[in-house]
């Protein structure tokens, strides 16, 4: 379950061919799947199979986030992401509305 599955008409080319864009696309897909399961579980809390799936997506997502942030800087504020030691990483790079997914 990911964005491409929901919208198969999207072009096959990745939105951002760069390595960073690819890693971020993977994070987007995992987060989307986890959020979909979260909303589903809110109204189907007895579905323990879905709970297992949610936990698996959580583990995969945490793994991808750690890997991404170690190379490209923090994604989360409020202490949930570390900054690189040589700069205040929160201000590095374009903000979400400025990113050029070309």
């Amino acid at each position: 379950m990911n964005n491409r599955d929901v919208f198969p008409e999207s072009p096959a080319v990745p939105l951002s061919p760069s390595e960073e864009g690819g890693a971020l696309a993977r994070i987007h897909d995992l987060q989307f799947s986890a959020l979909e399961l979260q909303l589903y579980l809110d109204t189907h809390p007895q579905d323990l199979g879905a709970v297992d799936m949610y936990n698996q997506y959580h583990c995969d997502l945490m793994c991808c986030l750690r890997e991404y942030e170690s190379q490209h800087g923090p994604l989360f504020g409020n202490g949930f992401s570390a900054s690189p030691r040589n700069c205040w990483g929160w201000l590095e790079g374009p903000w979400p509305w400025e990113v050029n997914y070309g």
């Binding site: 909303l39 109204t43 989360f76 990113v99």
Partner: protein
């Protein structure tokens, strides 16, 4: 408490500037069926919901709508990025430019500002959840209207993604409504018995 994540929920791009389309899309930022109203409507209704799953659905969908508000703003930002005063005038956006230049503002496609009257909060969980289902359908319809208004492949791609979320949210609110009605019905029978 909310934690900011420094990325969009779904990546967006545009083929090129289109200030006229931006002026239409802004209605999903601050119009009657827009994402600001949706986020505030759902997050605000949590305090009068009787069950944990209804509070969960409203918390999670309300939070997601905040992210959609950022996505709509991003589309408007990208469609007006670098557009000159002459470009704004040529698109019929003189008055928009006079008040806001290139700033974001919560308004509908005709420039009418957002008002709290867009929000429904009756305190009746059945009425409020039913209202939310209607709100999701109205937002879906507006996204379809917007999709019809543009030929930009990537703008359509983003709008289609946002439209699909309205369909999912409608489904979840419907399930929450059934659960709340069942619970209220059981409570009633218990008090009578």
């Amino acid at each position: 408490m909310w934690i900011y994540e420094r990325t969009l929920e779904y990546p967006l791009r545009v083929c090129g500037p289109d200030p006229r389309m931006a002026a239409c899309i802004i209605t999903q930022y601050g119009g009657p069926q827009g994402e600001l109203g949706a986020a505030l409507r759902y997050l605000n209704q949590r305090y009068s919901m009787p069950t944990s799953f209804a509070k969960g659905v409203l918390t999670d969908i309300g939070s997601e709508e905040l992210g959609h508000m950022e996505m709509v703003a991003t589309l408007v930002y990208k469609l007006t990025e670098g557009v000159s005063v002459e470009g704004m005038k040529a698109a019929g956006l003189d008055a928009q430019y006079a008040d806001h230049r290139h700033a974001m503002f919560w308004q509908n496609g005709e420039g009418v500002p957002w008002v709290a009257a867009y929000i429904s909060a009756t305190g009746d969980p059945v009425a409020d959840l039913t209202e939310n289902m209607a709100a999701e359908q109205k937002a879906r319809a507006v996204y379809e209207n917007l999709i019809n208004l543009t030929d930009d492949y990537w703008v359509k791609d983003g709008l289609k993604w946002l439209r699909e979320r309205e369909v999912v949210h409608f489904q979840r609110f419907g399930e929450a409504l059934v659960c709340v009605e069942e619970q209220l019905s059981q409570k009633h029978q218990f008090s009578v018995g």
